[in-house]
Amino acid sequence: MSQDIHVVIEHLQGNVSEISYTMLAAAREMSKASGGQVVALLLGKGAQAMADDLAADKVLYIDHASLEEFNSDAYLIALSALIGEQQPRAVLMGSTTIGSDIAGGLSVRLNLPLVSQCQNVTVDGGSMKIVSKICGGKIMAETDLPEETTLVIMIPGGYAPEDGKGKGAPVEAVTVPDLDGVRIKLASYIEPEAADVDLEKEPFIIAVGRGIQNEDNIELAQDLAELLGGVVAASRPVVDQGWLSTSHLVGKSGKSVKAKLYLALGISGAPEHVEGMTGSETIIAVNSDPNAPIFDVATYGVNTDLFDLIDPLIEQVKAAKG
């Protein structure tokens, strides 16, 4: 086993995903403890240019038509071969629609331990501990990084993506494994429909979560949004229930917003939601659970039943508008 830390670079439609830089930043810290190098694993077709701003010591690049866009089957074959041969100390993947699809397969194929939901790695001398955020952000679980190649699935939030950006690194082409047996094929991408709302451009967002309880109550948030010249957004459970369309979704597989005001009503603050809203300037969270993780990321918190608050709030906003 080498002491290198590998990072699987994620990209979609030609753009490197932010989690890749977050992981490079984490890998840098880990490599200082292990004494190895930071190695970026890049899979693509004519994608060398994506290596240009990676803060890595080395880039191992596999070029193949089947790897142009993400394909879990093709990635599994290619990465199994590469990681099996390189035997690094750790391999970092994103807790994303890409990393989460392949980590389990690598663990089984290569018979390697796997830790998921890792937010950060703490270093104590030469030993490292992986700190995972589970149970919707309510519990942290620590595991010791074993002395064998370990697969780590990372969530955002523990490292600044800017720290994973750099001048690039020497790109080393790696022999392409046989990808003829790939069982999955990307037929097409379906772009999101031009929506009634463009959350990324909205300065004032009133977001509702599971705490809104039912479809009818969304009107309350809409009333408030209208008064404030803002729009209504939602966390996953609200969209999954069909109460609001996916164009309103904030978080993983939804939008990442940078609002001036993000008012979170009845949102617990699961990591999947938080990653899409922490870029906002002022975050006000209203939740009846005093231990809701949303209070750890909000600027202001109100621990009350949102239904007790919303009527007086709407009244006072109306009064303030005159």
């Binding site: 629609t97 389990g104 331990p113 149970c135």
Partner: protein, 254 residues
């Protein structure tokens, strides 16, 4: 079309979670367990496919307190066969152990399609679906928001960030990690679940031996230490509302 859905329970996050005296796992004494919501979506997707073009739906789960109700509810929604794998699953079973148990059971059922929730919030060693797929050497697609299986292959909608959807074609059998069913999971009345308890039966099968290899032991569990906690606004509802109005003015929303 033979569809298997793998379903399970997770702690209800609305309730307070306690860490037990060992400091390495959740205290299960007062834990309220509910169906993993993504598994609920997987059941719904299977029932939708059955209604659309005919399928035989088997729901597979491991024995945990409360799982019978989940299985009977699935039957009330339209599942044809309920299988409960017996063994000691009450504490500390990781994704790798569950996946081995499920993979062994699935193999016997020769399915065309296996669906399960894309994740469970308790997962700390990867997701059960992705591991089951690898153990059975089947293709895996996660974050699935729709599927149309046909003859030997399926067209699957996979979610990507920003609302982008990938339309993928996979050979069958395959494992899908479901994020959201095409329609929201249906509600079934308690009376219908009671009816299912009478008409449907749960088959019990002894689970394969538990093997947690591939997951790591948790050395410490703790509550998150917030880097910066919110400034809490307190007072009567009216007082809070007026403070919020001030804040709305400060950010220019009023």
């Amino acid at each position: 079309m033979n569809i298997i859905v793998i379903a399970g329970l997770v702690p209800d996050l609305v309730e307070e979670l306690e860490i037990d005296s060992s400091g390495t796992t959740l205290d299960t004494t007062w834990l309220r367990m509910i169906i993993n919501e993504f598994d609920d979506h997987a059941i719904e997707q299977a029932v939708l496919l059955k209604e659309r073009s005919g399928a035989h739906v088997t729901v597979l789960a491991v024995d945990q307190e409360g799982i019978d109700e989940v299985l009977y509810t699935a039957a009330a929604k339209g599942a044809d066969r309920l299988i409960k794998l017996t063994g000691d699953f009450e504490t500390g079973v990781n994704s790798h152990a569950l996946a081995r148990v499920f993979a062994a059971a699935v193999k016997e059922l020769s399915p065309d399609l296996i669906m399960t929730g894309v994740q469970a919030h308790t997962n700390i060693d990867g997701t059960v679906g992705s591991l089951v797929a690898a153990l059975l050497d089947m293709p895996y697609i996660g974050y699935v928001a729709g599927a149309s299986p046909g003859d030997g292959k399926a067209v699957v909608k996979k979610e990507y960030p920003g609302g982008l959807i990938g339309e993928l074609e996979t050979s069958l059998p395959a494992v899908l990690g479901v994020q959201a069913s095409e329609e929201p999971p249906r509600y079934v009345a308690v009376s219908k679940v009671r009816q299912a308890m009478k008409s449907a039966s749960i088959e019990e099968q002894a689970a394969a031996e538990l093997d947690a290899g591939g997951g790591l032991a948790v050395s410490r569990m703790f509550r998150p230490e917030a880097a910066g906690r919110a400034t809490m606004i307190e007072g009567s509802e009216d007082e809070i509302a007026s403070r919020l109005v001030e804040l709305f003015k400060e950010v220019g929303a009023l």
